[in-house]
């Protein structure tokens, strides 16, 4: 079964880059420009296996999105990966403590994203990488 990924970033260009990487792994993708838009899509029925989340966004930032997702038992299996320029150690610890599984600092290479997904056992096809 194809796995689903939600790409949450206020930059269309960055969403496009991530979509090409994730889409190349055969994930079915959806996109949101901020955390609230992503929550709205999830509440409307899109059930992601993976969320790639920017930190600094208008309306709802990535950290708040993570805390909101982690309040909901029905979304406990969603893998959350921060993909952000925020690289201060305190921010990384804060995101991981809130429930993020992985943390990727921009700029990144496609290989860096793929390697992180492999570590998480996600391949896009529902088969452990």
């Amino acid at each position: 079964m194809t796995q689903r990924a939600m790409i949450i970033d206020d930059s269309r260009a960055m969403r496009s880059i991530l979509r090409r990487i994730i889409g190349g792994l055969d994930f079915e993708t959806a996109e949101a420009g901020h955390g609230q838009e992503a929550l709205d899509q999830m509440e409307a029925g899109f059930e992601p296996d993976l969320c790639l989340i920017d930190w600094n966004m208008p309306v709802m930032d990535g950290y708040t999105f993570i805390t909101e997702v982690r309040k909901r038992p029905e979304w406990r299996n969603v893998t959350l990966m921060m993909v952000t320029t925020e690289s201060e150690q305190g921010q990384i610890v804060k995101a991981l403590a809130a429930g993020a599984h992985e943390y990727v600092i921009k700029p990144f290479t496609p290989d860096a994203i793929v390697e992180k997904l492999e570590l998480l056992g996600l391949s896009g096809k529902g088969i452990p990488a």
Binding site: T84, T85, E86, S87
Partner: protein, 152 residues
């Protein structure tokens, strides 16, 4: 004395951003004739501010040709596809977001990074800021300038 990021660090960050998202085929070449004023005509600019343990503004200025070229590359669009200003602003804003975020990590924290502000035209800075670091380069023959300003 104003605390400022090292020019070599700024250079390294910009190169990393460029090669990660625009590829290695066309190198970003430092421009050593950079004392000349950045060409104001057809320039685009973007800026993010950092507030907290260190305060400053990181700005990228680039030619319109370069802004459009890098937008097409980042969005995987070919030359025949129309490109609007919002798409260019988005791509140029994301570049300064990445450069600014990484410069923030070099400076005393904790600090917060603002969302990018993008303009068709050169960047303007308030009178209490002075330039503390500048990296000039050319990419595909087009000029790009990354500067860091901090309160004097």
């Amino acid at each position: 004395m104003t605390l400022a990021p090292e020019l070599t660090d700024v250079h390294a960050i910009v190169e990393q951003v460029w090669s990660s998202f625009l590829g290695d085929e066309e190198p970003l070449l430092p421009a050593y004739d950079a004392d000349t004023a950045f060409p104001a005509e057809n320039a685009w600019s973007s800026a993010v501010s950092i507030h907290g343990g260190w305060t400053g503004t990181v700005t990228i200025e680039l030619s319109k040709n370069l802004a459009f070229s890098l937008t097409r590359l980042m969005m995987a669009m070919d030359e025949s596809e129309p490109l609007d200003d919002a798409e260019v602003a988005d791509a140029v804003g994301e570049l300064v977001n990445m450069v600014g975020g990484n410069i923030k990590s070099l400076m005393p924290g904790p600090s917060a990074l603002t969302l990018p502000v993008v303009a068709a035209g050169r960047a303007a800075h308030s009178s209490d800021l002075r330039e503390v670091s500048r990296f000039d380069a050319r990419w595909s023959g087009e000029p790009v300038r990354v500067s860091v300003h901090s309160p004097s």
